[in-house]
Symmetry: C2
Subunit: 111 residues, 2 copies
DNA sequence: TTAACATATGTGTTTTTGCGCATGTAAAAT
DNA sequence: ATTTTACATGCGCAAAAACACATATGTTAA
């Protein structure tokens, strides 16, 4: 049961829910500094929240040069699947323009 | 977004998740003292956890004589629907026999 | 090699959460 | 009328969580 509780706990914070929501809605890996910019949060807080999400097995990371990119852990359980779908139903309007800012940002990414 | 966070927060505690899980799996209203017996928790803790679940709009109550029966709030949103389904996937084996105890208890209920 | 950038983490502080105890209220039983 | 049963809640405390600040590590750029 603890796995499930850890997932719920991980999602019960605004910053973390926003991160997971972002990753669910854009279909790309994003790096820490991009999350920082989009969410307008301190870098150290974003890093810590990512650590909690990682511990809950919701995200994974891959290092590329000086960046660390985060992405949703591939779904293995029905539970995770349903949780992801639930998060996907949260409307963009409730996210304070985060996704819009994120799309602008991603568009500016050098190819 | 706060509604969603409140739901996740409500579900990120073992006692509360067990209560919701119980209500999801037995298809009946149950009163506080029954939850107390099944979960082997103090009455004041169960009451408090129920209050949190109520605040998150996950459960509702109906008073009958000296008993207060709790039941799952009828589902209105897709989000809630998916969360409920997710909870339903949590196997009984992870619930430390709670549902078994509960079924025995309910069977003993006078008609 | 030094500077700048990207990320992580140690430390102290404040806020939130959960618990135990005691107590309050209302209905039912005696 | 008093006691018992069922449930709720105020209070104080301890543990956990979130935050801000400073700093450490590694990587690329100058």
């Amino acid at each position: 049961m603890d796995e499930h509780i850890n997932i719920f706990k991980a999602l019960s914070d605004a910053t973390r829910l926003k991160i997971v929501w972002l990753l669910t809605n854009i279909d790309e890996k994003i790096c820490v500094s991009e999350i920082v910019e989009v969410l307008d949060e301190y870098q150290y807080n974003v890093s810590r929240h990512l650590k909690i999400l990682k511990k809950a097995n919701l995200v994974e990371e891959v290092k590329e040069g000086k960046w660390v990119f985060y992405y949703l852990t591939p779904i293995k359980s029905e539970f995770r699947q349903l949780i992801q779908e639930a998060i996907k139903t949260i409307p963009e309007s409730q996210m304070n323009n985060e996704i819009h800012k994120c799309k602008l940002l991603l568009a500016e990414r050098p190819k």
